[in-house]
């Protein structure tokens, strides 16, 4: 039925299904011109308001372009040419700064202009397509939708456009534009020696990437150990929480356990406390003079003046962090797996029992596959989340203990916390951006491969 429907549609060819090239090829002169003079096709066919909106967008863009945009694009290519100068003002008796170009702003305005240009190209396509639709409708003698019809269609066939508009604007402004900006910075010399507005920075191509990978340099000597610790951390943090959390959920939901609500409450309590608070208190609890060390001293496990270096010895610090993360993460997994466990259809269990399956078989053949089906996307997100797990590391150890062999990184620094140090403390924005891109590459390779294989992605409608 569904296939049939699709076929009939493509034969009759609803005008709104046409692609952009198709619209351009099959369109008449007015439609073709509409790609350059926005809204013409609509204006000619009495869709005045729609046409005017298109036209206004185009005029607005060109006013912006000629008053500001072209200059911004020029600066974007050079990243500023005039360095900030010092002039001795004899009348006042001190040095005055003359305003130079701010490379940072040059880059920023350049990116904004580029994004606006992409947006206007998109509007051009919309305008052409809209003109084509009107043309086809006119040729076929169908009625041409008025502006009110357009508004109404937002509630029906164009509901997706209406609902997505604001979220997408938000995403473009606060995610995409900043990302483009930071990616570009990876190809500039914006480090602590080139700080605008005092100094200019410039395009350097792949220099930063070369520096990061060149054999024997301090950067490379930092990058590889930090990367391997990041991966080790992510694997341990994800799977320890997942496995232990699932076991805990099974333990609580076991038939023989009484007072399920009570046990669950004991663990949920720690989830309920804001993670930020937990982490900061954990940091003090495992401090050299914190309660854990005090306890160990009182039990005589360590000497009175000794303390276990929970955060100061690299190996201990790593183990401590993973353990604390288990403490934080297990109740979360317990909660979500409890929901899933309760949601497994009871018929499945009954059928299995009738067929004479024992508890281990039921677990292996029903519970586990079901859990894995539902939890895999969750597992992948938590793995990527752990690679980017800034809070746990930053608030617990701050990346320490610091190492002299590293370029401003500590032994427990993840790539992201190193990124933070490089940008916020060290002001090597270009290196920070390079690390950001590398993290992205790692995650992209890892998760696109796995995510596409999961059942939940391939077969979204499995539970519909």
């Amino acid at each position: 039925m569904g296939i049939m429907k699709k076929k009939t549609q493509s034969v009759s060819g609803r005008p709104s299904d046409a692609g952009i090239p198709q619209a351009f090829q099959n369109g008449n002169m007015i439609t073709k011109i509409s790609f350059f003079v926005f809204g013409l096709g609509n204006l000619v066919n009495r869709q005045i308001i729609r046409g005017l909106i298109f036209l206004a967008l185009e005029i607005g863009y060109f006013i912006y372009l000629f008053s500001f945009g072209i200059g911004a694009l020029g600066d974007f290519i050079t990243l500023g040419t005039v360095e900030q100068g010092e002039v001795f003002n004899e009348a006042l008796g001190y040095y005055e700064y003359t305003a130079g170009d701010d490379s940072m702003l040059c880059l920023l305005y350049g990116v904004i202009t580029l994004v606006l240009t992409v947006a206007i190209i998109f509007v051009a396509c919309m305008s052409g397509k809209s003109a084509y639709c009107t043309q086809v409708r006119k040729e076929r003698g169908m009625n041409i939708p008025s502006f009110m019809d357009d508004v109404k269609s937002l509630k029906e066939e164009n509901l997706h456009a209406f609902l997505l508009a604001f979220p997408i604007i938000g995403i473009i402004c606060f995610t995409i534009v900043p990302l483009i900006f930071m990616i570009l910075i990876a190809f500039t010399s914006y480090d602590h020696e080139h700080q605008p507005p005092g100094n200019l920075f410039s395009w350097v191509g792949l220099e930063n990437f070369k520096a990061m990978f060149s054999q024997g340099s301090k950067l490379a000597n930092t990058f590889w150990p930090v990367l391997s610790w990041t991966l080790i951390w992510a694997v341990f943090a994800t799977f320890s929480c997942f496995i232990l959390g699932m076991l805990l959920a099974l333990l609580i939901n076991r038939k023989g356990t009484k007072g399920k609500g009570f046990w669950r409450f004991m663990f949920v309590l720690s989830v309920a406390v804001p993670q930020f608070v937990t982490l900061l208190s954990m940091r003090t609890i495992f401090n050299a003079n914190g309660p854990v060390n005090v306890l160990l001293r009182e039990f005589g496990i360590i000497g009175v003046t000794e303390s276990v270096p929970f955060f100061t010895n690299p190996l201990y610090a790593k183990i401590t962090i993973i353990c604390i993360n288990i403490w934080i993460g297990v109740p979360f997994t317990m909660l979500s797996t409890t929901g899933i466990l309760q949601n497994i259809p009871a018929e499945l269990y009954e059928a299995a029992k009738i067929d004479g399956a024992g508890a281990p078989t039921i677990f292996r053949k029903i519970t586990l596959p079901y859990m894995i089906f539902v939890m895999t996307p969750n597992l992948i997100t938590s793995f990527t989340g752990n690679i980017n797990n800034f809070n746990v590391i930053y608030l617990l150890s701050g990346g320490g203990p610091d190492s002299m062999d590293y370029y401003y990184a500590g032994k427990t620094d993840l790539l992201v916390t190193w990124l933070y140090r490089l940008t916020i403390t060290q002001k090597d924005y270009n290196l920070g951006a390079v690390i950001g891109i590398l993290v992205f590459v790692i995650l992209a390779v890892l998760s696109l491969l796995t995510y596409r294989r999961t059942g939940a992605y391939k077969d979204e409608g499995a539970f519909q």
Binding site: K155, V268, Y394, T423
Partner: protein
């Protein structure tokens, strides 16, 4: 057989008790220290020598450095606004992705996935400069608006959870509505939303918690403007080297104060969380 079952039961209870103690003890310690009478930071003993309520009282009638009430209201206001905005974004996007079929759908989902792989605060510096360029960092009030925008701006990308929930609402319900002449918008507002209370609550709560626990964005955007601090930055400041000796116990009191409302909220909506993870209409 019976003896064996008894044995496993006892073993399970012992295990659960031990685990519970491990999980509750740190929380207990935080509460205990918040009532400690002796000032100063780390002590060579655990059980306080005396108890007092001063730590709590000082939080609210403290000196100029600690303005807990102010921080609390700051965070509350930011949280409320960003909750409304981001819940709206998330619900819109997830409904569209779950229910409506259009050309760019798969592409949008892949793009969302890819964008989610960049470290969040890689863009932070850029966001900072964009906000600065737009003049949002001039006054404290504008900084708060900026913070709301930062928290909710990209929220539309976190639609997976709610989409998964909408996916579990049977399509037949929607189709019945269409047959009765409802438009897609009506179906969304009148049918899907009322059926989705657990996931809406879940979305609201997660969005609401964000500002309470975020440290990094707040710190970068608010800078040193201490009267506009949110709770998280405020508490962090109390543990800084120069303050820790004075504010150690007050820090714990602050932690307890902030944990109580958040925990209550969380426990009340835990049911929604579990339901939200597990699906909508059953049977």
């Amino acid at each position: 057989m019976r003896a064996k079952r008894l044995f496993t039961n006892i073993f399970c209870y012992i295990l659960l008790t031990v685990l519970s103690i491990i999980w509750v003890l740190p929380i207990f310690y935080v509460i205990l220290t918040s009532f400690r009478a002796e000032s100063g930071s780390y002590k060579s003993y655990i059980w306080p020598r005396g108890f007092t309520l001063d730590n709590y009282i000082n939080l609210f009638h403290g000196n100029s450095n600690i303005n807990f009430t102010r921080w609390f209201t700051n965070t509350l206001i930011i949280a409320i606004f960003s909750t409304v905005l981001s819940a709206f974004f998330v619900l819109c996007v997830s409904y569209v992705m779950s229910r409506l079929r259009f050309k760019m759908r798969k592409k949008f989902m892949n793009i969302a996935l890819i964008l989610g792989m960049f470290p969040g605060f890689m863009s932070m510096i850029a966001v900072y400069y964009i906000l600065k360029g737009l003049g949002f960092l001039e006054t404290g009030l504008l900084k708060q608006v900026a913070l709301v925008l930062v928290y909710s701006g990209g929220a539309g990308l976190g639609f997976y959870m709610a989409k998964g929930f909408f996916d579990t609402i049977p399509k037949t319900i929607d189709e019945a509505a269409y047959i009765d002449g409802a438009s897609k918008w009506d179906t969304f507002i009148r049918i899907t939303i009322p059926l989705s209370k657990p996931i809406i609550t879940y979305t609201l709560i997660t969005a609401f918690m964000g500002p309470w626990v975020d440290y990094i964005f707040a710190k970068v955007i608010l800078g040193n403007d201490s009267s506009y601090y949110t709770i998280a930055i405020g508490l962090w400041t109390m543990l800084e080297q120069e303050f820790v000796e004075y504010y150690y116990t007050q820090f714990y009191a602050g932690c307890v104060m902030i944990s109580i409302p958040i925990s209550l909220l969380f426990l009340l909506t835990q049911k929604c969380y579990v339901e939200g993870v597990s699906g909508a209409v059953k049977g």
